[in-house]
C-alpha cells in the first residue's frame, strides 16, 4: 500500500508580484510570474536554482528557461482557476514519491493590462477549435461571452430549487467587502484605493448594474493584474527556510464536466468530491476548519461551494455568511483577503487563495495587512477550495500550521 501523503510536504513561502490590481502603467503575465517567483525565493531565503519542480497553468517550460533552471518535474495543468490547488496536490505527490524536494507553483495573469495592450502580453494561446462540441452546441452561437453568461444559470436554478434569494447571495459580497476594508492591498479596500471601494450593502449589490440576470456586477469578481507564487518543500527540509511551514494535511481534486452543457446538477459541484478526498487524507472534517478560503468568482460560486465543502447544509450555502459568522471577528473567517470579489482576481484566482491561506496560517502576513500586525486570525487550519472553468473542476486543500 502506498503511504498517505498527508504532511509529506509543506508550503514554506508565499508571495505576490510587486504590484497587483489595476496596474495603470501596464504589465505582462510573464513579468508578473517572474516578480512573484523572485519575491517568494527572497522571502524563503532560497535561490531559484534550488527549485527542482515547476508548476503553472501554462509555460512552465518558459518560466524554467527564463530562470535558467533545469527542473526534474514540469507540470502545466491548466483547467481554470482551481489549477493552483491541483498544482499543490501534484507537487506534494511528486515530493512524496521522492522525485523532487522543492517546487514552485507560479501564477501571472495580466487580466487588466491585456485590455489596453490589445491582448498582447498574456502568454495566451491561439483561437479555439470551431469543431469542439461546445463551440457548435455551447454558448458561443447564442452570444454567451464569458463566465458570467453561464454562471447565472446556476444561480437561477439554486433559487428555484431551494428558495434562496438574490439577497442571500448579495450578502456574500457585502461580507467579503468587510474583509477588503481591513486589507490595504485590496482593490476595493476604500475610496482611496478605488472610487467604487469601501463598504457596501445588500441594496448596493441589488441596485448595481445588471450584467446577466440574476448576477449584478457586484455579484461578479474583479478582473485585475496579479502574480503570485508559493514554494513547496519536502517535510524534511520544511523547517530549513527563513519562513515557517504550513502543512499540506489533505488534498483532493475532481471534476463534474468541462462545458456547462454537461453539468448534471446546477446546484452542486465536484467540490464535494474533492473536499471529501482532502478531509479524508487529513483525517479531519469541515468542523475542524478554523478558516476557509472559498473561490468567489461570483457570489453563486462561493455560496454553492460552501455547501459542497460541508460547511452548511445543502441549499443553505449563503447562510455561512449570515449574522456576521464569516465576518471579521466571526466564528469562521472566510476569504480574509477580501476575495476575488473585492481583493483581486486576474481571471484565475486560485493562487490568491493559496497566498492568503499561507499568510494567515503561518503568521507571516506582512505588517499592515488588515491593519493588524502579523496574523489576523487565530486559525491553525484552513480549507482552501478552487473552482475552475464553468463550475467544472475543483481542487481542495486542507492546510494546517503549528505556529
Amino acid at each position: 500500500m502506498p503511504s498517505n501523503p498527508s504532511m509529506s510536504a509543506a508550503i514554506v513561502a508565499a508571495a505576490e508580484s510587486d504590484k497587483i490590481g489595476y496596474i495603470e502603467e501596464g504589465t505582462t503575465a510573464l513579468n508578473l510570474h517572474i516578480e512573484a517567483i523572485r519575491n517568494v525565493c527572497a522571502e524563503a531565503g532560497v535561490s531559484p536554482s534550488e527549485i527542482d519542480g515547476v508548476f503553472s497553468t501554462n509555460n512552465s517550460n518558459l518560466l524554467a528557461e527564463y530562470l535558467g533552471i533545469h527542473p526534474k518535474y514540469i507540470d502545466t495543468t491548466a483547467v481554470g482557476g482551481c489549477s493552483f490547488q491541483m498544482h499543490v496536490h501534484h507537487a506534494m505527490a511528486a515530493i512524496n514519491a521522492g522525485i523532487i524536494d522543492l517546487a514552485v507553483v507560479s501564477h501571472g495573469e495580466a487580466g487588466y493590462s491585456s485590455r489596453k495592450n490589445q491582448g498582447k502580453g498574456t502568454l495566451g494561446g491561439g483561437g479555439g477549435d470551431p469543431w469542439l462540441p461546445a463551440a457548435q452546441f455551447g454558448g458561443g452561437p447564442y452570444g454567451a461571452w464569458g463566465p458570467p453568461s453561464y454562471y447565472a444559470h446556476a444561480l437561477t436554478r439554486h433559487m428555484h430549487q431551494y428558495g434562496s434569494t438574490k439577497e442571500d447571495f448579495a450578502n456574500i459580497a457585502v461580507v467579503t467587502r468587510e474583509w477588503a476594508g481591513l486589507n490595504p492591498r485590496a482593490v476595493m479596500h476604500s475610496k482611496e484605493t478605488n472610487p467604487r471601494g469601501g463598504p457596501i450593502t445588500v441594496e448596493d449589490v441589488l441596485e448595481s448594474r445588471m450584467i446577466v440576470w440574476p448576477l449584478n456586477i457586484l455579484d461578479i469578481c474583479l478582473v485585475t493584474d496579479h502574480g503570485g507564487a508559493v514554494l513547496i518543500s519536502s517535510a524534511e527540509k520544511a523547517r530549513s527556510f527563513k519562513t515557517s511551514p504550513v502543512w499540506i494535511a489533505g488534498a483532493g481534486e475532481s471534476q463534474s464536466h468541462a462545458d456547462m452543457l454537461e453539468m448534471d446538477d446546477f446546484t452542486a459541484t465536484s467540490a464535494h468530491a474533492s473536499s471529501q478526498a482532502a478531509y479524508r487524507m487529513a483525517g479531519m472534517g469541515p468542523g475542524d476548519m478554523e478558516m476557509a478560503m472559498i473561490y468567489d468568482s461570483f457570489t453563486v460560486t462561493a455560496g454553492i461551494t460552501a455547501e459542497m465543502l460541508g460547511l452548511t447544509a445543502r441549499g443553505e450555502g449563503p447562510s455561512l455568511w449570515a449574522d456576521g459568522n464569516a465576518s471579521p471577528g466571526g466564528k469562521l473567517p472566510v476569504n480574509t483577503n477580501g476575495g476575488g470579489l473585492s481583493f483581486s482576481h486576474s481571471g484565475m484566482y486560485g493562487m490568491m487563495l493559496l497566498v492568503e491561506a499561507y499568510r494567515q496560517l503561518s503568521g507571516t502576513a506582512e505588517d499592515g495587512v488588515h491593519g493588524i500586525e502579523g496574523k489576523q486570525t487565530n486559525a491553525q487550519s484552513a480549507v482552501v477550495n478552487g473552482t475552475g472553468g464553468l463550475l467544472s473542476v475543483t481542487g481542495t486543500l486542507v492546510l494546517t500550521s503549528d505556529v
Partner: protein, 139 residues
C-alpha cells in the same frame, strides 16, 4: 439568411453532420446508443453512459422543458442588438440537455420566465448550410 449577424456554428463533418442535416429539414436529430438505449447530447463516437460505439441517429419530438435560464443584459457582435435576451438549458423530452436562446419570453421581466415551462424547437437559417436551433416557450 443574409441578415443573420450572429456567430454561425461550424458543423463537424465527422461526427455532428447528421444533426445539421436534420436541422436543414426542420427536424431535431439526436444520437442514441443502441446498446444502453440512452440519448446523449452533444454527439459523440462513444456513449458516455456505457462506452459503446453503437450509436444511431433518430428524429426526436423537438419538445422539452426549461431546466434553468438567465437573461443576458450584456452581449457583443450581433447579439448586442438583442439585449436583454434569455438563454436556457433545455431538458429534452428524450433525455439529456441542450443550450439555447429562448424565444417567446419577455426577457425584460426575468421572473416571468418559468423553469419547467414547455418549449419546442425551431430552426433559423443562418447560412446556405447551417440552420441554428432555437427553442420557443409554448405555454
Amino acid at each position: 439568411m443574409a441578415d443573420y449577424n450572429k456567430p454561425i456554428p461550424s458543423p463537424d463533418p465527422y461526427v455532428t453532420q447528421p444533426f445539421w442535416d436534420g436541422a436543414k429539414e426542420g427536424k431535431l436529430m439526436l444520437p442514441r446508443c443502441t446498446t444502453c438505449n440512452r440519448v446523449h447530447w452533444y454527439p459523440r463516437i462513444l456513449c458516455p453512459h456505457c462506452h459503446s460505439s453503437n450509436i444511431e441517429w433518430f428524429e426526436a419530438s423537438g419538445e422539452g422543458f426549461i431546466h434553468t435560464y438567465a437573461v443576458q443584459n450584456r452581449a457583443f457582435g450581433g447579439w448586442a442588438d438583442e439585449t436583454p435576451y434569455a438563454t436556457a438549458y433545455i431538458d429534452l423530452k428524450e433525455g439529456d440537455r441542450m443550450f439555447t436562446a429562448l424565444r417567446g419570453v419577455n426577457a425584460e421581466d426575468p421572473t416571468s420566465i418559468k423553469i419547467g415551462a414547455r418549449v419546442k424547437i425551431e430552426f433559423e437559417q443562418a447560412s446556405e448550410d447551417v440552420f441554428v436551433p432555437y427553442w420557443r416557450v409554448v405555454d
